[in-house]
Symmetry: C2
Subunit: 261 residues, 2 copies
């Protein structure tokens, strides 16, 4: 760890007024100097969206008392970009970016849709160690109490040892259960997905609209994945990267497509 207090950038996707980010700020302010740049409204499901072709707003807020904080009209990825390249431009850059604590699971395929993780991955693109934290409990009064000691330990570990370049951590917590958490499992993204259905309704003007709904289906029989960890009351830690290349498919395509190339 560098000398002195580390600078920690906190963001999320549920918006700056959510309980999850407040929990995260409270943990981080004991570890380092905190700056918050977070969305001014909920951004769930925004994936790795960024604001192009539209304007952005950024306003200071005193919502966290003495902690320097800004609310941004953009996505979680926008928040990281604006924090680093506007708010902290020509200033000291963050030693760590933390995002969350998300109200709801970001295991398995949800990492792709997750605004929480897009902020962490955006930081990783810029070689800043980053962690997304999510609690696998969507209820409005979800209990974050069992997560705090682990959030603190994981953040300290990353500040101390760093992360491989380009890697961000996707940390998920089981919902609060009667038994204590059993520890941490470093694992892979489970092979699971959402099976959607569309709930068809009519508005007061008689125009049709839809709600996306669906069930989460786990096809994965392994014990080395995040879904298994959560089901078995472990904290799941999945190292994530921004290289989407399916490297294993390059040779296959070169062989299969030889006539075309």
């Amino acid at each position: 760890m560098k000398q002195g207090k580390p600078l920690i950038l906190v963001t999320n996707d549920d918006g700056i007024t959510s309980r999850g980010i407040r929990t995260l700020v409270n943990i981080m302010k004991d570890i380092g100097e905190v700056i918050v740049v977070a969305p001014d409204s909920p951004q769930s499901g925004m994936g790795h969206a960024i604001t192009v072709g539209d304007t952005l707003r950024l306003e200071p807020t005193s919502i966290f008392g003495d902690i320097k904080a800004f609310e941004c009209s953009g996505t979680p990825a926008d928040c990281v970009k604006m924090a680093r390249h506007y708010v902290l431009k020509d200033l000291r850059q963050p030693d760590l970016v933390v995002s969350g604590i998300n109200h709801g699971s970001n295991t398995s395929i949800s990492v792709l849709y997750s605004g929480t993780m897009s902020a962490a991955i955006e930081a990783a693109i810029e070689s800043v160690p980053a962690i997304g934290f999510s609690l696998c409990d969507f209820s409005i009064d979800a209990d974050f109490g069992h997560t705090t000691e682990y959030v603190r330990k994981i953040a300290l570990k990353v500040l101390e040892g760093g992360l491989p370049d380009g890697v961000a951590l996707n940390v998920n917590f089981p919902p609060k259960r009667n038994e204590s958490l059993r520890g941490i499992r470093v694992c892979r993204q489970a092979n699971a997905r959402w099976m959607e259905n569309f709930d068809e309704r009519y508005d007061p003007n008689g125009r049709r609209y839809f709600w996306m709904a669906g069930n989460f289906v786990n096809f994965d029989k392994g014990e080395d994945n995040d879904e298994w960890a959560i089901a078995n009351n472990f904290v799941s830690v999945v190292p994530c990267q921004f290289d989407l290349t399916a490297h294993h498919a390059i040779r296959t395509l070169n062989d299969d497509w030889s006539g075309l190339l």
Copy 2:
């Protein structure tokens, strides 16, 4: 290839009225039966966003004449989900999903921000062969003429031979140049990224706002990546996957974190 005409779902992120999707529909209708479900407005930079916590609209349109087409208020990923699980629910499912042709590059890191590719990857999640096509030319009157024969050949090849499960192709075309395209290169995502700056302005009410701007910087010295291919007038084909796990980092973390686990 299956017997009979294949069913091809066409979508994009520039919106259903864009020239790029019209070009793609015109190519695909000679290959198979086409159905279009595309955004009713531009969705550039939407990454893998989906619409949760808000309603969706879906309306039929005759914009493509006899071709069955729908415009959707959602993101490209929403369009694929609605096509498969509402429009085609209990009907024959697409043999191929194509997205684009995007007005602008989706090479390298842009794949993460790309609505075009999120549609293709969404299809791959559901094990449907899928291809995102992009032209590395952002100009409004960009020439798509040199892309059509390659789009056709690549689509036919995928219909004929399929793709590895969970893989979608990210196909980028160089802008129209004086020399002909030199062929196709199967390659990896280049190590490059955007270096943002924020253009600060004031609206007529004196409130501050920003435009995100920036430069694309390529750190990659290799010749096996998409940026190299485009610069050298090849069509780049990057097989992409939805597993973000940095598998190489799992062992490192298990070793480094042994005290914590």
